[in-house]
């Protein structure tokens, strides 16, 4: 299973963190620091996989963002690269040509999207259509909420 996923910028700023097992905060911070340093110092043509403690790290850079996943020994490295890619595709489709700022300002959306795609460190739904459908259904409820707010404001409800 995937242990955690980190998104960070080229400047080493953490943009998203998702932990699929319970880690103490102290360990989370230390791990994040170590991995950001480790990955940022690697050169472009290098292998996307590395051994780190008893985990395997799979990372890929998209524009200014690094996506970095820690998987277990018997997990599939190549497919993890495609997990990253599919997630990027999902964000891209949703935000329309996603950039780092979208993720900063809509971090909660990035989390909701991730929950539809990966759960408990395993891939839940690989169909792009189905994930986006689930998110669209959420947004619909959100609009209902917003409408309700307006109605309340005008004393109509």
């Amino acid at each position: 299973m995937m242990q955690f996923m980190l998104l960070f910028s080229r400047q080493g700023k953490l943009r998203l963190q998702k932990w699929f097992s319970a880690y103490p905060d102290r360990v989370k911070k230390k791990t994040t620091r170590e991995l950001i340093t480790l990955v940022l110092q690697r050169k472009p043509k290098m292998c996307s996989f590395l051994e780190w403690k008893d985990l395997k790290i799979v990372y890929k850079r998209y524009a200014s963002l690094y996506f970095c996943c820690a998987i277990e020994n018997d997990d599939n490295e190549l497919l993890t690269l495609e997990v990253i890619h599919r997630y990027v595709e999902l964000l891209d489709k949703y935000f329309g040509s996603v950039c780092e700022l979208d993720i900063i300002f809509n971090f909660e959306k990035a989390y909701f999207m991730l929950d539809e795609f990966l759960l408990g460190g395993e891939v839940q739904e690989t169909s792009k259509k189905n994930v986006l459908k689930a998110i669209a259904a959420q947004d619909l409820l959100q609009e209902d909420d917003a409408l309700q707010d307006v109605l309340v404001e005008y004393g109509l409800s």
Binding site: K29, C47, F49, D74, L78, F105, V123, E125, T126, D145
Partner: protein, 954 residues
């Protein structure tokens, strides 16, 4: 500011912009503290906040947390949001809980109450929110109070697909954190059948769940194998258009394929022939597809396709049963070794390591040796080079060891610092394991020290000394080589240590050459003395006193050094004491005493290579996957580190012991030197056969009792077994931990064999078991009634196990005694031959000359006779031979053979089924040191069995 999706929280967006506009870290912290103060006052204030405001502030707290700041309030407000009837508020509440609230929080009871409410909601989106929260937090409390409802949700026909998907993985998470909380007994079959579900997403999620359950209980979920194979088969044969959105860059359902292939790796190859064939077809199809031209140039296509391929290869390796598939897999990986994608080269090297351990594909892997060596030299990424080192290590065997070790040594000169130590260990292990010529081994290790001295750990140089001590054919060469190596103007301190030790023991072997005369050796060593650490100096001092014994002619020069002010008043207590005591020893002791005290080191007892142990410790996973798997995981002989002086070991040389008690106890700095120096009591006397065992150890292919080859005999078992042919009682086995004694009584076809286990240590043996195993060939011929033995043997205690054995028919193989126990958390296994052999059921018979010859002639058919002519292994002493014949269970008949040196015997063999008369004639030829043995009986197999046994005894 970029567009904010949905009902953006304006305040939040403004806050994020503010933070981004901060010019410095200080400014950012200031802005955050201001915001925290604001939120705190809002939460504490008198004015009740509406849902929107709560949501906004909770979201701000989340953002602050994600920036890396600690958040210590707001949890209650987040929990309040959970019960909001507005979806967005609920959603933010759950997000906050997932990210920020630990499983142990006091608020968890409230959270669980909300989850319970949402799980029964009519809106599937609300149900999923609750499930996601459970899967993210995964606490025991959740498993306990809500977990029981999940299996029903997962398998009910009324649940919609997206909820099933989330339920499957939520259940997986809860099973991981608290497996005992949710019993799945009644749901097992329905969960397995999710593999047949119409919806690919449901199958994708369920397969992960099933794999986790299978790992805990493979037997219960066994029926998933055929379902998984047929699902896999449908996917790999599908065209990419069939699976619509589950096709990823022209690859049909790669995620599900990989999960199914992994699920199957929990089982042996399917028993059912049709399932097995279908699986083989799948694997072949996947291998075939790898050869087809790519359907897209995109890296996503190739990654997904190869992800499935690599997982298929993992399954092929796991099954390890189809040579054709293994070799195809190897060829495919061979292509990847030269692929332009670094990632593929990396993975190919990694997978090939596994293939190298399979007997079917080991040779195929070796074909790629040159490519791998090139990779080692030219890859630009150190992690890829590391993989190449691992693979070279795994593919090494006797045929290519010299080349591989040579290449690794060469590479070591320029290797990355991060992998040097591990490479040194690997080179040392390979050189030892595959050495045919030990001069080569010595050269390799000295080269290691020369090239990468700083990375040569103690284990490595201890080991070369152990090996040189135990092999007298290499000692002279070793002395000569270290002497030459020490000539270098700057040599590594480890070289000085090895040199000092070896010259101290074997310097005499090269002293004849005037270029390495005693004085030259001494001066050479002493020229390094001042550059060395105290540890090494201590070792050199021990060498000097050994020199005094070896070369009396340089005694005065050495005494001068020992007695120098610098040494006698050395601030290092250990060195000072050594000098004083060695000086005194050399003055007071007579040459005889000196020679006894400083006798050559006895051979080291067999033990696990300490280097291997070190490599395992350093890289547990690598060695488990690597070449070692088939080797000694656990040695029979407890792994006594070189540096463990045996306090309980007998001290054959009391003078040495007394002399040096003080230094070894006096200073911790001396401890390292002591191991190899004088003042350790020599290692416990090795058993007679240890030379042999050691060799076997060196070659690494002796049958070790490690579970891989469960039936292999413990080293030395065969020899000890043979000692019992002519006696009933004695010691069957002994090592540092355990002594096993045998006391046996035989009456006609019955035997009572007592086996005594003596725990020689001060610690308990736990899980102690001892079972007698009969080979199939003797199952019907021997009947055994064993008594069980207590599972715990206290330190110092002896327990007895009694076997009542009946000989039903003749047999030629001895029963196997399998012993296993845990000592200081290491599992020990012994396989010994119990000396219950057919001859034990012989009863000596007396007869006169006439009767003997009548019977002898009656047994004249060729197959009734067994004759052996063999060379004497023991002195042909008449009295000893007589004792052996009697001990074997034969009579000695006088006055039958005209030659008084010959032995003529008769006996009756008792089995339950029959009694068989046996006649034996043994004719020693003292001139030729040969024997002729002739046995006749009515049963050919008995003549032969007795002949085979007797032949080994004289």
């Amino acid at each position: 500011m970029p567009t904010v999706k949905g009902d953006g929280m304006r305040g939040l967006a403004v806050f994020i912009s503010d933070i981004r506009n901060c010019k410095s870290k200080e400014a950012e912290i200031k802005r955050i503290n201001k915001e925290l103060a604001n939120i705190r006052s809002k939460f504490k204030g008198d004015k009740t906040l509406d849902g929107y405001q709560k949501k906004k502030y909770v979201c701000k707290l989340l953002f602050i947390f994600l920036l890396g700041h600690d958040i210590d309030f707001g949890h209650m407000e987040a929990v309040n949001l959970l019960s909001s009837n507005k979806y967005t508020e609920k959603q933010i509440g759950y997000l906050f809980i997932s990210v920020l609230v630990g499983a142990s929080s006091d608020l968890m009871k409230l959270v669980i109450q909300s989850i319970k409410n949402d799980l029964v909601s009519r809106n599937p989106i609300h149900i999923n929110l609750a499930l996601h929260c459970m899967a993210n937090v995964g606490s025991r409390e959740m498993a306990d109070s809500v977990g029981g409802d999940i299996p029903k949700l997962l398998t009910s026909g009324e649940t919609i697909d997206s909820v099933k998907q989330s339920a499957g993985l939520t259940l997986l998470r809860l099973q991981r954190s608290s497996p005992e909380m949710i019993p799945l007994g009644e749901w097992t079959s329905r969960i397995i059948h999710l593999l047949n579900d119409q919806h690919m997403g449901v199958v994708t999620s369920a397969t992960s769940l099933i794999e986790a359950l299978v790992r805990k209980n493979p037997e219960e979920y066994k029926s998933c194998v055929s379902l998984a194979v047929s699902r896999l088969s449908r996917i790999v044969t599908a065209s990419y258009t069939d699976l619509q959105d589950y096709t990823y860059y022209f690859v049909p359902a790669p995620w599900l394929s990989v999960k199914l292939l992994r699920l199957l790796q929990n089982y042996p190859p399917p028993e059912d022939a049709s399932v097995r064939t279908r699986l083989t077809e799948c694997l072949e199809t996947i291998l075939n597809k790898a050869q087809e031209p790519p359907k897209s140039k995109k890296v996503q296509h190739s990654n997904a396709k190869n992800a499935v391929l690599f997982e298929a290869i993992n399954l092929i390796i796991h099954m390890d049963s189809d040579p054709n598939l293994l070799v195809r897999a190897c060829n495919q990986l061979g292509q990847f070794l030269q692929h332009k994608e670094t990632n593929l080269r990396y993975l190919a090297l990694e997978s090939m390591c596994l293939l190298a351990t399979s007997e079917f594909s080991h040779e195929a892997v070796k074909k790629h040796q040159d490519t791998v060596i090139t990779a080692l030299k030219t890859e630009r990424d150190v992690s890829v080079r590391q993989r190449a080192v691992d693979l070279l290590y795994a593919m090494c065997d006797r045929s290519n060891a010299e080349e591989i070790v040579g290449e690794m040594l060469e590479y070591l000169e320029s290797a990355d610092y991060s992998i040097r130590e591990e490479m040194v260990l690997k080179v040392a292990i390979l050189a030892e394991k595959y050495a045919v010529d030990y001069t080569w081994y010595v050269d390799v290790i000295l080269n290691l020290i020369r090239i990468a001295g700083d990375y040569v750990s103690e284990e490595v140089w201890y080991r070369v000394i152990q090996i040189v001590i135990n092999r007298d054919d290499v000692q002279g060469y070793a002395a000569k080589t270290v002497f030459e190596a020490l000539q270098a103007p700057a040599c590594h301190e480890n070289m000085v240590k090895v040199g000092g030790y070896i010259l101290g023991e074997f310097g005499n072997l090269i002293a004849g050459d005037p270029r390495s005369s005693p004085l030259v050796q001494f001066q050479l060593l002493h020229s390094k003395y001042h550059l060395c650490s105290p540890n090494t100096r201590g070792l050199l001092l021990s060498t000097y006193i050994k020199f005094i014994n070896l070369f009396p002619e340089i005694k005065s020069s050495i005494q001068e050094i020992l007695g120098s002010d610098n040494n006698l008043r050395n601030p290092d207590v250990e060195l000072q004491q050594r000098c004083i005591e060695y000086l005194q020893l050399s003055t007071v002791a007579s040459p005889d005493v000196l020679a006894t005290v400083l006798e050559e080191m006895p051979p080291f007892p067999e033990r696990e290579s300490s280097i291997l142990a070190k490599l395992k410790k350093k890289k547990p996973t690598a060695t488990a996957e690597g070449g070692e798997e088939k080797e000694k995981e656990q040695r029979t002989i407890p792994q006594a580190q070189v540096n463990n002086a045996e306090p309980s070991a007998p001290a054959p040389l009391p003078t040495v012991n007394n002399l040096n008690t003080a230094p070894s106890g006096g200073s911790s700095g001396g401890a390292v030197v002591d191991l190899l120096g004088l003042d350790t009591a020599p290692a416990p006397a090795a058993p007679a056969s240890s030379g042999l065992n050691f060799l076997a150890d060196v070659f690494g292919d002796q049958p070790a009792t490690n579970g891989v080859d469960d039936d292999a005999l413990t080293p030395g078992a065969e020899e000890n077994f043979k000692k019992f042919f002519c006696k009933q009682n004695g010691v069957l086995f002994e090592n540092d931990l355990l002594q096993i004694g045998i006391k046996a009584e035989y009456r006609q076809n019955l035997a009572r064999v007592g086996v005594f286990f003596g725990n020689k240590t001060t610690f308990q043996f736990t899980n102690f078991t001892s079972n007698l195993v009969l080979a199939d060939s003797i199952k019907s011929a021997v009947s055994v009634q064993p008594k069980a033995v207590e599972p715990v043997v206290e330190g110092g205690a002896q327990v007895q196990q009694l076997f009542n054995i009946e000989c039903v028919d003749s047999f030629s193989e001895a029963p196997l005694l399998k012993i296993s126990f845990t000592h200081t958390s290491q599992v020990q296994k012994l396989n010994l031959k119990l000396p219950v052999i057919i001859s034990k059921f012989l009863e000596p018979a007396e007869m006169n000359s006439e009767a003997f010859f009548t019977r002898w002639k009656a047994l004249s058919q060729p197959d009734q006779e067994c004759q052996k002519i063999f060379k004497a292994q023991f002195p042909q002493d008449t009295e000893q031979v007589k004792q052996k014949v009697l001990g074997f269970g034969l009579s000695i008949l006088q006055g039958i053979d005209p030659n008084p040196d010959n032995f003529v015997s008769s006996a009756i063999l008792h089995t339950r089924n029959q009694q068989v008369g046996c006649l034996v004639r043994l004719e020693p030829n003292k001139q030729m040191q040969m024997y002729r043995l002739t046995i006749r009986s009515t049963k050919p197999e008995i003549s032969k069995a007795l002949g085979d046994l007797l032949e080994t005894q004289f």
